[in-house]
């Protein structure tokens, strides 16, 4: 047996990016072989954050799982609650009040906005533009303040529940949301100047990390990664949940396929989220915010299986929920977009990449390790 040229110890250097590595998002690692500074082979290692959520959920009541699911994706937890709630509502046949639907959509969009702000800034941060990263996270903090006011928590909100949301909007909330949006919007042009119009940023991101359009179906790519390569997939449009069918928006799509395009997609997603939040704020109807649920400690969701999907900031997010009609779920399987982005796609994209672009490429996929590992 000959030596694999991609991992020949004489010709290559064997390196780990992560888990303890500032260029890696979250706690995961990429094992790579370099020839010079060019990657010849890459293997993604995940599982550093594996907490056995799916096992734990089988051991907990249906409603007890809400605090668990939001921890599956740290930067944007609400989609998990939403997705899980959608599945339960579908299985149990619960109707959600109209107002709750609007509020849910509001929460989801705010979460998306926060996440996209961080990811857009992070893209700059990973090529060394620390200022961009700082600004992005600062803007996100404004949104987190709103969450705190609405739900009582900055990160893990546990706000959505089957049949509605936990609380109504506080007084004056809409005004404050507008204030925050105005504040962010005012700073966005400066943000653009710093990042998107920066010649060096363009040099670093254009033509790098190309996701070929044919990979979209082959790998099942979703979200900005797919939409940066010409796809128009967006669950909000394709299979509208909550009130997305009542909102006026176009799916953001670009065709550049490279990191720069993905940054643009993310930037336009920010605009889209802001516009959607504005629409929602203008249209929230009055009414109850939650349906009355049976005694939750003895609540048995009817037997059945459902695969619920929502659109997260990183793309389609799915929950495969199986109920056997007992107090606890039989099986919950979470399918986060990072699953394919960070494992097979990243391993493929990194081959031939420069060491300088490894974290650049990885960040452009906005991988979120906990949703792979759960």
């Amino acid at each position: 047996m000959g030596v694999n040229p991609a991992t020949d110890p004489k010709k290559t250097t064997h390196l780990f990016f992560g888990p303890q590595h500032p260029g890696v998002t979250g706690n995961m690692s990429i094992e790579m072989w370099f020839d010079g500074d060019q990657v010849t082979k890459a293997i993604t290692h995940v599982g550093y954050l594996h907490r056995g959520f799916e096992k734990l959920m089988e051991k907990r009541l249906w409603i007890q799982n809400f605090p668990l699911v939001c921890r599956i994706c740290v930067p944007e937890p609400d989609i998990n609650e939403e997705c899980y709630a959608l599945a339960i509502e579908e299985l149990a046949g619960i109707e959600v009040p109209e107002r709750a639907k609007w509020i849910r959509t509001l929460v989801l969009e705010m979460g998306r906005l926060a996440m996209n702000l961080m990811a857009f800034g992070g893209q700059a941060g990973t090529v060394g533009l620390g200022t961009g990263a700082m600004w992005g996270i600062t803007f996100r903090d404004f949104v987190l303040d709103l969450f705190e006011e609405l739900t009582g928590a900055r990160v893990y909100h546990i706000y959505i529940q089957p049949g509605g949301v936990r609380r109504d909007l506080p007084r004056g909330f809409r005004k404050r949301v507008h204030l925050v949006l105005n504040k962010i919007e005012k700073r966005l042009p400066e943000f653009d100047r710093l990042i998107l119009n920066n010649a060096v940023f363009k040099l670093r991101t254009k033509g790098i990390g190309v996701v070929k359009p044919e990979w979209i179906e082959e790998y099942g790519l979703v979200g900005p990664v797919a939409r940066g390569s010409g796809s128009v997939r967006d669950v909000r449009k394709d299979a509208p949940y909550e009130i997305y069918d009542k909102l006026d928006f176009d799916v953001v799509t670009e065709t550049g396929s490279d990191i720069y395009t993905r940054a643009i997609v993310r930037r336009r997603d920010i605009d889209l989220s802001i516009s959607l939040i504005r629409q929602i704020l203008g249209g929230i109807p009055a009414g109850p915010v939650a349906t009355k649920l049976p005694n939750l400690t003895e609540w048995r969701v009817p037997a059945g299986e459902y695969y619920s999907r929502v659109e997260s900031s990183r793309g389609e997010y799915g929950y495969y929920v199986v109920s056997d009609g007992s107090l606890k779920p039989r099986r919950v399987h979470v399918r986060g977009p990072s699953y394919v982005h960070a494992v097979p796609l990243l391993e493929r994209m990194l081959i031939g990449a420069n060491i300088a672009d490894v974290s650049n490429i990885m960040v452009s996929l906005t991988t979120c390790p906990p949703e792979i590992e759960r």
Binding site: V200, R204, A356
Partner: protein
């Protein structure tokens, strides 16, 4: 003789303090650009002291052990080769012993030592960083040496005292006005020299955390920080003497070095990194061409 030694000690001490202080100030300024308060300006002193007093440290071999000393020696050697305050001959230190060529080459002393230490650490990131750094160095040194040669030939002297003395006839006699293109080239080359972005490819934390000093800890790191502070003051001093007419007093020295340093800080915080080859190409193209304009002017 004694006064010379006193002057040398004073210079080194001042440079160390000023270098660390400048580092602190630069962190504050960067923080302000980020929209933060930033650390105390004395933060670097605290860091250096803390690192110095860490109770354990590791080394990977002789060169690893010696590298910080190489670094500090190189920095002090450059510092002492440059006149500090124009007119006060006592502060000219050792500058009689060499000219700009010597200065250009002795600058590498510390870098080479650092690179050797990094190599001895056995860490691939450190070595990759060194390979990047050397590749980049070979490009910015091209533009820088073109600029220096243009200026030196234009002024008919290689002696730094001579270059400074030629700029004492008012602001318009400063080389930055007499040789605007060469100065522009040199100032661009100054950015990679200071490892400022967009040329900061050596200490790229997201790519090769964090380059040559990745294995250095504790007291080694403390010395390395001091060496870096000294070295940047030495480079600032060289540039002030080369382009900005030298410093006629300690106050103007502090002011000029401060402003020059702020230039790198401000540029640094609004640019991402180049990739190595982009950096090399840019440096070959832009600053070198600029400096060549003045060189051609001088030749004609």
């Amino acid at each position: 003789m004694l006064s010379n030694i006193m002057s040398i000690l004073l210079t080194v001490f001042t440079a160390l303090v000023w270098g660390l202080l400048l580092g602190g100030i630069s962190r504050t300024v960067t923080a302000k650009i980020h929209g933060r308060m930033g650390p105390r300006v004395t933060q670097n002193f605290i860091d250096v002291w803390k690192l110095f007093r860490k109770t354990s440290s590791i080394h990977h071999g002789g060169m690893f052990w010696l590298a910080p000393m190489f670094r500090i020696t190189g920095a002090i050697a450059v510092l002492l080769m440059v006149p500090v305050v124009v007119g006060q001959n006592i502060t000219y230190n050792m500058s009689f012993a060499g000219d700009v060529f010597l200065l250009l080459y002795i600058m590498f002393f510390g870098c080479l030592g650092m690179a050797l230490g990094a190599g001895n650490s056995g860490h691939p990131y450190a070595v990759i960083a060194v390979s990047r750094g050397l590749a980049q160095m070979s490009s910015y040194e091209l533009s820088f040496s073109v600029a220096v040669v243009a200026i030196a030939v234009g002024l008919h002297t290689f002696r730094i005292e001579g270059i400074v003395a030629a700029q004492q006839a008012g602001i318009s006699s400063w080389n930055i006005f007499r040789f605007p293109f060469a100065s522009a080239g040199a100032l661009i080359a100054f950015l990679p020299m200071q490892m400022a972005y967009p040329f900061g490819i050596v200490l790229a934390p997201q790519e090769i955390p964090i380059g040559p000093p990745t294995e250095y800890s504790s007291r080694f790191l403390s010395l390395m920080f001091s060496g870096r502070a000294l070295f940047s003051v030495a480079k600032l001093l060289f540039f002030v003497n080369l382009l900005f007419g030298g410093a006629s007093s300690w106050l103007s020295l502090l002011l000029k070095t401060f402003l020059l340093y702020m230039y790198t800080v401000v540029v640094s915080s609004v640019f991402p990194r180049f990739r190595t080859e982009q950096s090399i190409k840019f440096l070959w193209l832009v600053p070198t061409t600029l400096a060549l304009v003045d060189l051609v002017r001088v030749m004609l």
